[in-house]
Each structure stands twice: as structure tokens, then as C-alpha cells.
Amino acid sequence: MKQLHELTINEVHEGYRNHEFTCVELVKHFLNRIEKYNPKLNIFLALNPNVITQAEAIDREIAEKGIDRELLGIPMAIKDNFLTVGISTTASSNILKGFMPQYESTVTCKLLAAGAIFLGKTNMDSFAHGSSTETSDFGPTHNPWNPEKLPGGSSGGSAAAISAQLATAALGSETAGSIRQPAAWCGVTGFKPTYGRAGRYGCIAMASSTDSPGPIAKTVEDAALITKVISGKDPFDATTSPLVVENYPSFLGKSNLDGIKIGLVTEYLLADMRNDVKQLILEAAAKFRSLGAIVEEVSLMDPKYAVGVYTVVQRSEVSSNLARFDGIRFGHTRDSFGEETKRRIMLGTYTLSSGYYDAYYKKAQAVRTKMIDQFTEIFKTFDAVIGAVSPGPALLIGATKNQPMFGEMEDILVEQSSVAGLTSTSVPCGFVDGLPIGLQITCDQFQEAKALAIADCYQKNTTFSQFPDLDKTL
């Protein structure tokens, strides 16, 4: 029989229904694991001080009404850039150390309304500036598969929390790879909804034009359910779409992929990529074929251009978004910004300066439009495109040192889809050197149902979604 921390959302609900355990017991089980493993992994920055009281209330609700909310009693780990009333929120930055939010973010509000219970806040790259969780002002998170390795980032804490099974599900956010890349490095499922599908209100802004909240979970099924809960028009976010949210879980469970056309992006098989990683992607393509899909090679713009576009747009927006931390409010001065944050503010200030705006920001936006057009063209004939999430497995802690473009190089394969605002899943597709490798399945804007259905079919027909035995790895 599975242990409590191994259960998926549906399995937790099954357990509640059969009175196998209570929410308080489940929460205490996770708290014990957190107490035991967190000192080595540095995943949680803050724990919810009221979690037991809240679990007790949920148990009363279950006893009275049964399970009538989609995430009732599901213990979740929340990335520290989402404002949560009653739990300190810092975006892993010293400048916000001790900050207690005055309001609840839209997506955490929706999770709470669906009955979720928050265990605590997870570590991330400071202000989400990175792909390693190493730029956190509170130290790096360690990869549960090998604590000497990075978990990826910026949602590294949330991905590691799922991999280490310190929560049933987690919330992350992606600006360019920040959900998919740590999910890949930690060997779990990450899902980036379309930009504008889930509201950004109350999510500490990194790059406003690409920030997308999304789930990190054990399975595509869990990710689909959470995505359904957090999606929809947000009256407090003018960039969210009014499109009706589909019932994503109902699209899952396909036994084959007949009639689905998948593009294997040739440019994503980089020349300097490890052969064993390439091999896993080709095997995944073969798996799709065996499931009935048509897989053809497809060509996209060289991903290095996406890196250029993303670097300029994101730094520009960062320099502006962080201006509100002016040293007058929030209790800390601007010199408490970390190195990477300062570097991004400087670069962004430069690219927006008069005389440089046209050469950098404006040109970047023009290339971005070209990229979107190219994807639109491809998705006329293809249902999805696939490739590796990251060029290789998790790197060693310390790898970001003196590598200001570290994140961009690790995210080279996911930045294009982020810049174009697409939806994409990361699912485990094998191991190299005992470390997981992630496969991205990317679909056109607002094709969440399709991206999730394809990923679900792949996941259920493979055995790569595994969890490390912490007593052995740590």
C-alpha cells in the first residue's frame, strides 16, 4: 500500500472518503517529512502557522458534507512569489524579508476556495531571476535526486517539494522555463498554461508580459485539475482571457494518440547537446508513434534568437517592476537586492534608455512577433511540438557562479514558447547519470486540454515519473 506522501489528489480524496486518514493526519505526515528532510533540501522558506487549525476545519467539512470541493484537503506547497495572507512572502529576496501580505493572490485565492490547504512557501530564485534556485537570497534548494545538484528554477522549491514528496501538489510560476525546467530536473510534472489563462494579481511580477502561474505535480492528472481551478478571467488582471475554462481532467485518459500530429523540433536537438539526452527525445518520439501519433520533424527559428528577445524584454520589464522596492517602504533598502537582481536592473535600465530603446526593446518585440507568427503557422498543421526541456540533466550546485547567462542557456529550449505565450507541459522521459530528463509538449495558445491530454497519454504509457528514496539519496 502507498504511503500518505505518495498519494495523488484523487488518491487522497479516495482515502478521505474511505476514512483511511484525516486531513490533520495527512498534514502532520507532511510536516514530519518537512521537519526531517527540509534542513538538507532547503525547500520551504516559511510554513503556514495555522495549518493544523485549517486541517481540522477541513476534517469537519468532510465529515459533514463529504468532498464537494475539487481540492478539498489537498496539502500544497506554494512558490514564494504568490502573496498569501498570514504566511510571509518574500520572493526569496532580502528586500522583502519578513513581508506579510495585505492581500491574497488571485490563484492562491482560487486554490483556497477549492479547499486546498497550504503547507508553506517554497524557495525560488530571488524574484524568479534564474533557473537554478541558486540566486535565492536564502541559499539554494538541493535536488532530491542528488543533493549536490541544483533543482533548476526559478520554481525549484516547488519542483523539489513534489520530487521529495513533501506536499501532494505545488504551485509554481513560469516566465520562461521556470515551471518546466525545474520539473524536468526534479523528474516531476510541470504545466505552463497560456499567458493570460490564470491571473497574475498578487504574484510578485518578474516579466509582466510572460509571467504565467501553473502547477507542479506528481501526475498530469493532478496538474490538469489544478490548472482548471486556477484558470479564468481575473477581474484584477487586464491581461487575462475571457475564454471559457475547459474541464481539463475530462480530456484525459485517452488510450492512444490516433490522429494527433506531433512536430519534433530539429533546432531543439542542439549540436552540443549530450547524445544520451538526444536519444531520450528520439525514443519519446518513437513512443508517440507507437501510440498512434504522426511524428514529423519541424523547423523553428534558431532558439538563440528567443534567448536574445527574452533577455531584452525580460530585463526591461524587471528593471521597471522592481522600481517599487524603492527603499522607502517594505523595511529594507535597495542594497539588499542580490547580485543577479542588480545585474538585471542594470541591463534593463540600459535597454530602455533613450537612444537604446529602438535598438533593443523595440527590435526584440519585432522578433517576438515573428516568432508568434511562425508558431501560428506550425500549429495550423501540427497539434503539438516536442523537444527536450533542458539541454541536459541537473547541474552541480555552484554552476551558476560567474555565469550571468546561466538561466538563458539552460532555458534555451523553452524560451521560444514562453515568449510566444504558448502552453506547454514538462513530463519525465528518462534518466541520464541517474538524473531525470524532461520532455516538453507544447501546444498553441489556449490549447491546454490538448497539451494535457497528449502528456497524460504519454505519462500513462511510460514509467519515467518516479520519486527518489530520500533516505538513500540524502
Partner: protein
């Protein structure tokens, strides 16, 4: 030597919408306890996002249309970035290269057209209060005003005297009030003025332009006039001394000291800010459809100049029409229009009586008008005949009068008025009635 001042004006108007520009807080901030009308958005808290106020955008477009501007089909907001303690986000949401409205004009009474360059939407800042607290000099910030919708109206440098500038400002003020988007109360800071001034000097050696000077944040028409006049004199003197001409980079910013009636240097171009404008990523761009613009156009009432013209057509003198319009005496304007179809009343006279405070438009207009103008039946012989008949027919009421019940006078006046179908001059009639009753 010929001196021609060149004056352009930037006018900021706070809109009187129900809520602020990008959040649901009330926009009416005047006299409210500090920081009681704030929320995460207008406080610039982490994670907060702006959602544009549709009503404010409609008001902005309404101002543009009233100033004969074209409404741009594609428009967007931009971030204007600078650090100041009253600016909680570190940037102001404004409009840079695609404002809601561009290129319009406003006619002065002389018939001269003053070009309008643009009308754009932005948000107001918080307010700083420099004060002493517990014996310590401190600066406090009140964010009630933060995020209040602000419209900026930028003119071309088409005005050539302080008088033209004043007329332009007064007309803008009247238009804003007439279309109902703001009371534009100068004392409450709802309308703020920034003249940009330089001078064209023609002498025997050639034609020269003095460097541009922008005068910041003036809150009265008279101060604007004084500041412009001071600046014209100063620039001519300065030019005579230094011979420095306008270049692309030597624009300066000056403040106005209303006590000394002088301007003073605030900032030179070297210190000028680079605002690092870029498109506001939190607000999608706007596509403004023609039928939306037409709907707003239909909501615009007759503008002050049009109203003055329509009163003039009734025969009202221009100076009286202007007073009625500028004081927004809606009842009086209505009455002048209503009685213009009444042969017994001369519109020119009626308007003049109202303007001079002799006739109260809230009371019986005809009676007052007749009293004041002595028209109607003033023939005492004819009235005596009529009144005598009524007295003869009502001996009991006459008896009451004799007993001291003097208010029955009204009865006789009323009856006589009825008999003359309202044509009797009330004053003459009243005199006749009293005289006959006392006989």
C-alpha cells in the same frame, strides 16, 4: 526690434470619475483623511496590477472630441519611469507615442486657431506633506490622490501673448466643466497649468529664438499670466546679455514664485530625466472603434462657444451671453431660450436684467420683467375702469378691506389681471387698486 512671444500650454485635469484610474478606490480625494482611500493597486504593493477605468477613458476621449481632436484607432498605455516618494510603483502609467487623441484645435474669440497637439490619459501621484512631527522635520506621504485619473492637454506653441494664453485657459476650463468630466476647480488642484515660453526676436541683424522654458505646476490663471509675462521680459533681457539662442538641448524647467512674481531655475537639460518609456505590459493595447467614438460624441452637449452663439442669435449681447455661460447659470440660459418665443419679452433686455442681478430667474419672470420694464397696460384710465367694475361687484370684500383686512388687495389685483388676460402692468395695477379702495 520686434518681439513675439511663443507660448504653448500643458494643462492637467483631474477627472471626476467615481473610481480611480486603475483600481476601485474612490477618485474624490479632496479633504479626506490621509491614506484612507487606498488599496494594493494605488499603493503599488508587490503583485498588484492596474485595470483601466473605462469611464475615465471615455472622458479623455470626450475632452479630445470637444477640442476637435481625432481619436486614434490604436492606443496604449506606457510606463514613465522615475523615482519620487509620491510615486509608489516607481513609474507613472501614462501614454507616450499613441495617445487616445491627437491634433485638434480651439478657436479664440479673435478667430485665431490654437492647435492642440494631443490629449492623453494618465494617473495622478500621491501627495507629500512636509511637516514637523515630535519636533522632527519629516515628509509624510498621502496616497489618496495616487491613481486618480488625470488628462493632459498639450497645445501647440501658437499663443503670442499672456492674454491669449489666459483666454485659451479659460476656454479649456469652460469646456471641461460644460462636458461634465470635471469641475476643474483650480483651488482643489483639479486643473494645473504648465506654460512653455520662448521669444522670437527680430532685429536689424536677423531673427532669433530664445531657449525654451517650461514653467511647472501653476494653479491659477493669473499666476500663469504673471509667470508668462515675467518670463518674456526675462528672456529678452537674457538674450540681450548673452545672445544664447534655442537649441535642441537647452530647454530648462523653472518654477513660479507667486509672492515675488518671478520664475526661478529648477532644472537644466543636463539634469533632465530620461523617463525610459516603454509599453505598459500589464494593460493590453486598445483598438478604438468608430461607433464607440460616435457614441461619446453624441454625449457632448453644446460647447460654451456654441451656446454663446445660440444666445447671440436670440439677440443677447455677446458680453451678457459670455457671463451666463461662464457662470454656468443653466436656469437663466434656459429662461432666455424659453421666453425668446414670447413676443412680450425682449431677449436682449431679459438677459441683461439677469446678468445685472435685477431679475431673479427662479421667480415669476413675466411679472418681474414687466415691473422692471414698465410694459403691459399702464393706461390708468383703462385700468381704473376695470378695477372699479370689480369693486362694485364685490361690496362684501370691500367691506372687509375697510375693516382692515388689507390682504384682500391681492384678490382685486388677481381679478383685474384675469380680466386683462395678464396684460396689465402689475405695478400700475397695484397702484390703481390701492387708490380706488382707499377712496
Amino acid at each position: 526690434m520686434k518681439i513675439t512671444p511663443l507660448i504653448g500650454l500643458e494643462v492637467h485635469v483631474e477627472l471626476e470619475t467615481k473610481s480611480k484610474m486603475f483600481c476601485g478606490c474612490p477618485a474624490d480625494h479632496f479633504g479626506k483623511a490621509p491614506n484612507t482611500q487606498t488599496c494594493p493597486v494605488c499603493l503599488g504593493l508587490p503583485g498588484a496590477l492596474p485595470v483601466p477605468n473605462q469611464k475615465a477613458i471615455e472622458s479623455c476621449i470626450k475632452i479630445g472630441l470637444a477640442l476637435n481632436c481625432s481619436v486614434n484607432r490604436l492606443s496604449k498605455f506606457d510606463r514613465k519611469q522615475y523615482f519620487y516618494p509620491d510615486l509608489p510603483k516607481g513609474y507613472q502609467i501614462s501614454q507616450y507615442d499613441q495617445p487616445f487623441c491627437s491634433v485638434g484645435f480651439l478657436n479664440l474669440d479673435s478667430g485665431k486657431k490654437i492647435g492642440i497637439e494631443r490629449v492623453h490619459q494618465e494617473e495622478d501621484t500621491g501627495k507629500l506633506q512636509h511637516t514637523v512631527l515630535n519636533g522632527e522635520k519629516v515628509t509624510l506621504v498621502d496616497f489618496n490622490r495616487s491613481g486618480v485619473p488625470l488628462v493632459e492637454i498639450v497645445s501647440m506653441p501658437d499663443m503670442t501673448s499672456s492674454a491669449e494664453a489666459k483666454e485659451y485657459l479659460k476656454k479649456i476650463h469652460e469646456i471641461i466643466r460644460a462636458i461634465g468630466v470635471s469641475n476643474a476647480d483650480m483651488e482643489k488642484g483639479q486643473m494645473r497649468l504648465e506654460p512653455t515660453v520662448n521669444v522670437c526676436i527680430e532685429n536689424e541683424t536677423g531673427i532669433y529664438y530664445t531657449p525654451l522654458v517650461e514653467i511647472k505646476n501653476i494653479n491659477s490663471f493669473n499666476f500663469a499670466v504673471q509667470a508668462i509675462e515675467f518670463e518674456i521680459k526675462r528672456q529678452v533681457q537674457e538674450f540681450e546679455k548673452s545672445g544664447i539662442e534655442k537649441t535642441a538641448t537647452n530647454k530648462t524647467t523653472r518654477g513660479y514664485d507667486s509672492v515675488k512674481k518671478t520664475t526661478f531655475l529648477q532644472r537644466t537639460k543636463e539634469e533632465a530625466k530620461d523617463y525610459r518609456y516603454f509599453p505598459e505590459p500589464d494593460i493590453p493595447p486598445f483598438i478604438i472603434e468608430e461607433d464607440f467614438v460616435e457614441r461619446i460624441r453624441k454625449e457632448i452637449p453644446l460647447l460654451p462657444d456654441q451656446e454663446i452663439f445660440s444666445l447671440e442669435k436670440l439677440g443677447v449681447e455677446k458680453k451678457d451671453a459670455k457671463i451666463l455661460i461662464s457662470t454656468q447659470n443653466r436656469l437663466a440660459i434656459q429662461i432666455v431660450h424659453d421666453y425668446s418665443r414670447d413676443d412680450r419679452i425682449d431677449s436682449k433686455k431679459l438677459a441683461s436684467l439677469i446678468v445685472n442681478g435685477k431679475l431673479n430667474p427662479a421667480q415669476d419672470v413675466l411679472v418681474q420683467y414687466r415691473n422692471l420694464t414698465k410694459i403691459g397696460i399702464t393706461d390708468t384710465t383703462q385700468l381704473t375702469q376695470i378695477v372699479q367694475n370689480i369693486i362694485d361687484g364685490n361690496p362684501s370684500i370691500v367691506a372687509e378691506y375697510k375693516k382692515g383686512k388689507t390682504n384682500v388687495v391681492g384678490f382685486f389685483i388677481g381679478q383685474a389681471m384675469k380680466e386683462t388676460k395678464g396684460a396689465a402692468n402689475p405695478k400700475t395695477l397695484s397702484d390703481v387698486v390701492t387708490e380706488l379702495l382707499n377712496r
